[in-house]
């Protein structure tokens, strides 16, 4: 759709535009201690520019062959990316945590589409179910009433936004170099028709067949478990020890620190 609107733009300029729009959008969206009205305007502008950035990244994406697959991937990827951006720019840390849960849902969807059924579910269970709840516990314990001043300002928002966008541009460039085919937006007529007819996904069965493993076959979890507890058994044991050490360490730190911090409790009320 977007591909047919923008037939003649080169992928490089589209990427450059997307990266610039990303930087501008994040710079507008990050909290900078403005008054309420200016903040609202900047946020609106920021989300608008962000939509432009997203559109250019969608346009540089590659066609997947079937419309259904494309639609599903697009939806889950947009949920992940938009919620991720909202996590970064939310003023209130509680909202940031909730948006992060939404981003996790999107990431789980992306993992499912990419063939990681177990990991998609594990992300929801472990991250959203356990780690995020721990974050919310700490927020409930430590968040002062209302919006704290340090939540309304950022460290060097311009430099941070530019740094992130430059990193994104470099990564997208090197990802684009992995394939000789130009993205779907910028193809000449004949090649585009050939790609839309399904040759775009031709490389995938070849790759999987070359390695002799079909990731999407039956018994996904059983085979993943076989790999994990077969080839990586020692690493699993080490991970178990790491969990135990983290548990003991955090208990030791918090029990010692409570005694140390007693005199400071009186200061706690002042923001």
């Amino acid at each position: 759709m977007i591909a047919s609107i923008l037939p003649s733009i080169s992928p490089g300029s589209l990427l450059a535009g997307g990266v610039t729009a990303t930087a501008a959008s994040l710079w507008l969206l990050l909290p900078r201690g403005r008054s309420a009205a200016a903040d609202r305007t900047a946020r609106w502008l920021g989300w608008l520019v962000g939509v432009v950035a997203l559109a250019s990244f969608v346009a540089t994406g590659h066609r997947l062959g079937s419309v259904g697959e494309e639609a599903v991937f697009l939806i889950v990827a947009l949920v992940a990316v938009i919620s991720g951006a909202a996590t970064v720019v939310s003023r209130s840390p509680v909202y940031a945590a909730i948006w992060f849960a939404m981003a996790l849902a999107g990431v789980a969807g992306v993992l499912l589409v990419l063939g990681g059924q177990f990991l998609g579910v594990a992300t929801i269970v472990v991250y959203a179910g356990a780690i995020l709840v721990m974050f919310l516990f700490v927020l409930m314990l430590a968040q002062p009433a209302g919006l704290a001043p340090y939540d309304r300002v950022s460290n060097e928002p311009l430099l941070a936004a530019v740094a992130g966008a430059v990193l994104l541009g470099i990564l997208s460039l090197s990802i684009g170099r992995l394939t000789a085919e130009p993205p779907a937006c910028c193809l000449m007529g004949g090649t585009k028709a050939a790609l839309l007819n399904g040759s775009g996904s031709a490389a995938e069965p070849a790759t999987a067949a070359a390695a002799g493993i079909d990731m999407l076959a039956d018994n996904h979890v059983a085979r993943l478990g076989g790999e994990l507890f077969g080839r990586h058994l020692l690493a699993v044991e080490v991970a178990g020890v790491l969990l135990l050490v983290a548990l003991i360490g955090s208990i030791a730190i918090i029990s010692r620190g409570v005694a140390d911090a007693e005199p400071a409790v009186a200061r706690r009320v002042a923001p």
Partner: protein
């Protein structure tokens, strides 16, 4: 003959997955650099880990083996450990300063960096959020004096 002559170009789905991973990683990086709330910084680090997970699973699909999946499982494990230990540190930092502010620890900065000074912020309209309430019924119990002293907002 090129070293990579027999390398198959990644499938379109793999490329798109890599781009999504890169975007999530870059967003998390911006958050780490810019935000000052310790917990939001931590959430942004987790967002970067999510971007890495998406990239790893994409490469796993490309190569057709389980290495990426197994590595993501270990990323989950280490993220859980890291969250436990780091949140304890955040709680300690809060107990000492009363703030979740990274700038509260700016005494630890490099000697050639200037001090972060907070300017006076313009007031924001503090409209309290409206939550649904049940219709009161029965007799109102006597107010607990101790409960009134506690913070009503956390």
């Amino acid at each position: 003959m090129s070293l990579f002559a027999d390398v198959v170009a990644p499938a379109p789905l793999v490329l798109n997955g890599l781009v999504v991973g890169a975007i999530l990683f870059a967003l998390g990086l911006v958050g780490i650099l810019a935000r000052r709330n310790l917990i939001v910084m931590f959430l942004c680090a987790e967002l970067m880990l999510q971007g890495i997970s998406v990239s790893l699973v994409s490469w796993s699909r490309h190569h057709g083996d389980w290495g990426g999946h197994v590595l993501v499982i270990f990323v989950l494990t280490v993220a859980a450990c890291e969250a436990a230990v780091a949140l304890v540190f955040v709680l300690q930092a809060f107990a000492r300063t009363g703030r979740l502010d990274a700038a509260a620890w700016q005494a630890l900065r490099e000697s050639n960096l200037s001090r972060t000074i907070d300017r006076e912020l313009p007031a924001i309209d503090t409209v309290p959020p409206k939550f649904p309430k049940l219709t009161p019924a029965g007799i109102e119990p006597a107010a607990d004096e101790d409960a009134l002293l506690e913070r009503e907002h956390v």
